[in-house]
Amino acid sequence: MTPAIDVINVSKVYRRYARKRQFATLKSAILDGSLLADLKPDETFQALRNVSFSVPKGCTYGVIGSNGSGKSTLLKCVAGITRPTEGDVKVDGRISALIELGAGFHPEISGRENIFINGIMLGLTKKEIQHRFDEIVEFAEMQDFIDAPVKTYSSGMYMRLGFAVAVHVDPEVLLVDEVLAVGDQSFTHKCLDKFAEFRRRNKSILLVTHSLDLVEKFCDVAHWLNKGVTKGEGDPKRVVAAYVMDVEDVEENTLAKAEAVRVAASAKEISTANAPDDTGANVGANFGSPGVETGEGPAAEEGPRDGFKSEEGRWGTREVEITNVTISGPNGDAGHVFQSGESIQVRMDVTSKEKITDFVFGLGLFNADNVCVYGTNTNLEEFQPTEIDGSAIVTFTIDKLDLVEGTYRLDLAAHKADGYPYDYHRLLYTFRVKSRIRDVGIYRPDHSWSFEGGIKFSDQR
């Protein structure tokens, strides 16, 4: 049996022009005598490189990948909107592409007329549309507005009508580009039902999406593109897992890079003892004293760092210096992306030039909204400092990182018990917490559900 879609070694090269295209005009082209030069590309951009796959009939095929990975270009090549630079695309049967819904609707004329025009554009005959008209209107839930001009429609109505026409073209091959977000919950369900119906009728679907859940639940095969190159193909669960791992790696790298830059920049700052002063400086201590919340005391106004509340930075006398900070997960590897529920360790390498007897180590944990999730220090937890001399290691361990998914930042500090800062690292360290559960809030208490009586759940996903 011939496959529904056969993509053979497809490459797509986009041309880029050195000059902004909008300003390259015929006038300038003639004046500069560069008419021919302007039509030649200066640079090329390879959106797809030797991508091959085939979609058998009745298969739902998901393409995933981060932004700019070439997913949409691939879809356009399959739809025949652009031609691949190299390679070949073969499609068996009528295609309907849900790339832009309602493309070609004319705003001035009624929904009814637009259905006909859109249908004809998608390759139906008038009779076929007549035949399906009621079905389309009903599917789009537009019975009351079908004779109003399309310009009066809300964007949701517009999309629904576009979707309804496109799926009622009755294609052999349906191309879907991230369009399931077109309506409310019930409409989304309807769309999914329609897709399921397509599957039952042995039609093929090529789905481009960022919704990994959808790919896992819905697709028979997943295809992962990265920068135009196939990185994996096969069982959706496996491919999605590999993709997620890769995304974490990339995030890890960007976070690490950004952090390195921040730490380097802050290390250069001149350390003066009077710089940002006491109030904000002693993370832990502040949380003990009511009314002085994260630098809302006088310091915020009079200190040299007015907006210091959210600004990262570093200050202090460096009599005790935090020379290096690593955050590591349960396996001991330093990283920036952790799973919720794992244990993490924050390790500070510290040195002091001479013997110091008054010192406190503190830590503050902030979420992306700059809400303090937790703050503590050795003083609050009643460690009595005796002395520090030379190099030492301070490790703060969280046994179970019960945080919801998101990005978190850390304050780390060494200071005197009265707040006098030795070395204060403000929001310099960032890490991400990943979670399979999409719960919300700032803290995930250890919890469980239990049910008794006449209540039933089917198995968890």
Binding site: T25, I81, I95, A103, I117, I120
Partner: protein, 266 residues
């Protein structure tokens, strides 16, 4: 050749073209009070203005055998309007239809063709006004001459579509072609015997005017509709007819060559 296979496919799109022309016409006057009446009203006003100018404001500017002068001009201006607005609108049609080209598998050549055809319908809607005035002034238009009329229209149609394809494809790459074109069309208008009869043009300029294909198309209209006697302009018209077919093929060829770039450049 691929180009000719695509050209043949054009025939398959006739349903689509027809639908889009109707949509264009419907949409144009949707929401205006007079609706389709505008298609009659615009040329009527034009004719009345010219009549007023040439009988009241500047009588005697033209030789007596050219009476009524406004009617003479109208014979040319009506088809010229079709030609000029087709070109000007088609320069924008691919960009305006960008959504279709980028997001749907859509035969792009349909768009300029629809523009030309929609303007042709407007031209046809203006014809009753012309006929009414021909009857009013009791001009005699022979049966043979009336049969020539559709021939001229066909020649102009092929010529206009060819140019429209060419212009629309190039405008995608050179956006200022639109502005350039407006000036060029204006110049072309005066380089064509529309508001002056050919025999009043300076003799040493005649060869230049004769090189202009629109001269012969316009003169043919004038021969059929305004001047008495048998047609007498068949030969140049036949030549222009051949030229129009060539223009159409070249226009289509250029369009076809640039087709792949539309989705990326629009």
């Amino acid at each position: 050749m691929v180009t000719f296979r695509n050209l043949a496919a054009l025939f398959r799109y006739r349903g689509l073209i027809q639908t889009l022309v109707v949509r264009d016409l419907k949409a144009r006057y949707r929401g205006s009070v007079l609706g389709f009446f505008w298609s009659f009203f615009n040329p009527l006003m034009l004719l009345l203005i010219y009549t007023f100018v040439f009988t009241k404001v500047m009588p005697g500017i033209h030789p007596p055998e050219m009476e009524p002068y406004a009617l003479f001009m109208f014979c040319g201006i009506l088809p010229w309007t079709w030609f000029a607005s087709s070109l000007l609108e088609s320069s924008n049609t691919l960009i305006a239809g960008g959504n279709l080209i980028k997001k749907v598998m859509f035969p792009a050549e349909v768009l300029p063709i629809v523009t030309v055809l929609a303007n042709m319908v407007h031209f046809f809607l203006g014809l009753p006004i012309l006929v009414a005035f021909l009857l009013y002034y009791q001009r005699s238009v022979g049966v043979l001459e009336v049969l020539w009329f559709p021939v001229i229209v066909l020649v102009q149609l092929a010529f206009t579509i060819g140019l429209a394809l060419f212009v629309s494809a190039l405008t995608v790459h050179f956006r200022d072609l639109k502005d350039l074109l407006a000036n060029f069309v204006q110049f072309w208008f005066f380089a064509t015997p529309i508001i002056y009869p050919m025999h009043l043009a300076p003799a040493d300029m005649a060869w230049l005017l004769n090189l202009n294909p629109m001269t012969h198309i316009m003169r043919s209209y004038q021969q059929v509709l305004f001047f008495d006697g048998p047609l007498g302009h068949q030969k140049p018209l036949a030549l222009v007819g051949l030229l129009s077919i060539a223009v159409f093929l070249v226009g289509y060829f250029v369009f076809d060559r640039l087709r792949d770039s539309f989705a990326e450049e629009v």
